[in-house]
């Protein structure tokens, strides 16, 4: 039995297969509509995340399965003090697979150690959010046709943004990738990503603080939100939150085929006037996320019709 804790749990080849399967699902929806008949996914969300939870639930419903679960710790037995280990033992009796979101880092790993069903990490604190990374990769691959030979700009909160860290880790495994890291000084990428990933693998990158200067160099611009919940100091949050606002004027500087991605939700870092630009693909990204999660569920349930027999 296999779990998914980190995007690096899957090899590049396994991820390629998952994305092939996601693409096949996209083009043959009917063929997959009953593949999970009688199966249940438990969405165990100890903190609210409407987007990710709905994506998992939609994925399972699209496959013919059904959904049980809770959407906040207050409505779960955690409010009575039950441990993650006990909850997963109980849920293993009800469901066939589970997706867990937890504010504490490592909680899904604790669950996987006691679980009798596959556990998917649906986000654990500031640590990992592998299905977001797989969604990002699948979106880029689907719309660009490749995950190699790309200049990727990452903009906004590069210090606390776990999606950015995971994406750098994941993309670093592909050939001829370079990064442009755009952030205010206070929100620069942590040293360990710079040393252990970028420098260690000799991946070209530059760190800049002006978005306009680099707009025409990027194939992908990955925007992120400055998250209020990562700051202890409200004043600092307010000072930094409006650092980078992507608008039509900035987009006019970009390549014609650059793509703008965002893990969502956005606050104001992408002006709504950009939404109708064909290069703005963050809502398509949501759709690709459903296909990627459908593929993941099938692989972990060993119901993958494209698996080599």
């Amino acid at each position: 039995m296999r779990h998914l804790m980190s995007p690096l749990d899957f090899t590049v080849e396994e991820l390629e297969h998952l994305m092939d399967l996601a693409t096949d699902i996209e083009h043959h929806r009917d063929a997959y509509a009953h593949i999970c008949d009688g199966k249940k996914i438990a969405t165990l969300f100890y903190e609210p995340s409407t987007r990710t939870r709905l994506s998992f639930e939609t994925a399972m419903l699209n496959l013919g399965g059904s959904v049980i679960g809770f959407s906040s710790a207050a409505s779960s037995s955690a409010a009575k003090g039950e441990s993650v280990s006990d909850t997963i033992r109980m849920v293993s009796c009800y469901a066939d697979i589970c997706a867990m979101r937890h504010p504490k880092e490592g909680a899904p790993l604790v669950a996987s150690e006691k679980s009798r069903i596959p556990v998917i990490n649906a986000g654990d604190g500031g640590h990992q959010h592998p299905t977001q990374t797989i969604t990002d990769l699948h979106t880029i691959r689907s719309l660009k046709g490749r995950l190699t030979n790309l200049t990727i700009g990452l903009c906004g909160d590069l210090k606390f943004g776990r999606t950015v860290h995971s994406l750098i880790h994941a993309l670093a495994r592909y050939e001829n990738i370079s990064f442009i890291l755009i952030s205010p000084d206070e929100l620069r990428i942590p040293d360990y990503i710079r040393e252990e990933v970028l420098d260690a693998r000799q991946i070209p990158y530059k760190e800049v603080s002006n978005l306009d200067d680099v707009m025409n160099e990027m194939d992908i611009l990955y925007m992120t939100r400055v998250q209020r919940e990562r700051f202890f100091n409200e004043e600092e949050y307010i000072r930094l939150k409006d650092c980078y606002i992507l608008d039509a004027a900035k987009m006019s500087l970009a390549k014609d085929d650059m793509l703008v991605l965002h893990p969502l939700p956005r606050v104001n870092e992408i002006s709504t006037e950009v939404d109708d630009d064909p290069r703005a693909v963050y809502f398509q990204q949501v759709q690709y996320g459903v296909y990627a999660r459908m593929a993941l569920i099938l692989i972990l349930l060993q119901l993958d019709p494209l698996a080599a027999s």
Binding site: S83, V84, S85, H102, P103, K104, E105, G106, A107, L109, V110, D124, G125, G126, H127, Y192
Partner: protein, 145 residues
């Protein structure tokens, strides 16, 4: 200053060059309180090399004690294996791949911070730089804090 004599041991091992003051912690970390054998702890012994050092003498076959953790505590500790009252082997210490319930994760966002019954497990992720990370949250263990 007079010399304190602790008798020779027949069979067992001697942990020498322990930084002064660390012997009691090592006694507990090795689980020596669970053994029925004779254990001598010598604190603040004079050392040409270190000025002061601690020594632990244990009278039981060395294979009965898991010494892996010593490599994490301090690789300069020397392990002398004793048979028939003679040193028959000097063991070199290596960093253990895994450390259980010796050090605690200090990341307040780690699941181990709220579920107290979980084992505190650290894994060696970079042997060259002796970096250990919490198995659950992957936070680096910082010896200074």
């Amino acid at each position: 200053m007079g010399t304190l004599n602790v008798g020779k041991i027949e069979e067992g091992f001697v942990l020498d060059h322990i930084p002064a003051g660390k012997s009691m912690a090592i006694y507990h970390d090795l689980g020596l309180n669970d053994f029925d054998c004779t254990v001598a702890i010598i604190k603040n012994a004079r050392s040409n090399l270190m000025g002061k050092k601690d020594i632990i003498k244990v009278e039981c076959p060395i294979d009965e004690v898991n010494l892996d953790i010593l490599g994490f505590i301090d690789r300069s500790i020397t392990v002398n294996v004793i048979k028939d009252s003679e040193i028959v082997e000097k063991r070199t210490l290596r960093l253990p791949k895994k450390i259980s319930n010796i050090i605690r994760c200090k990341n307040p966002r780690c699941i181990t911070s709220i579920e107290q019954e979980l084992k505190q497990v650290f894994l060696l992720t970079d042997e060259e730089r002796a970096i250990y990370r919490c198995k659950y949250c992957e936070e680096k263990y910082d010896r200074r804090s």
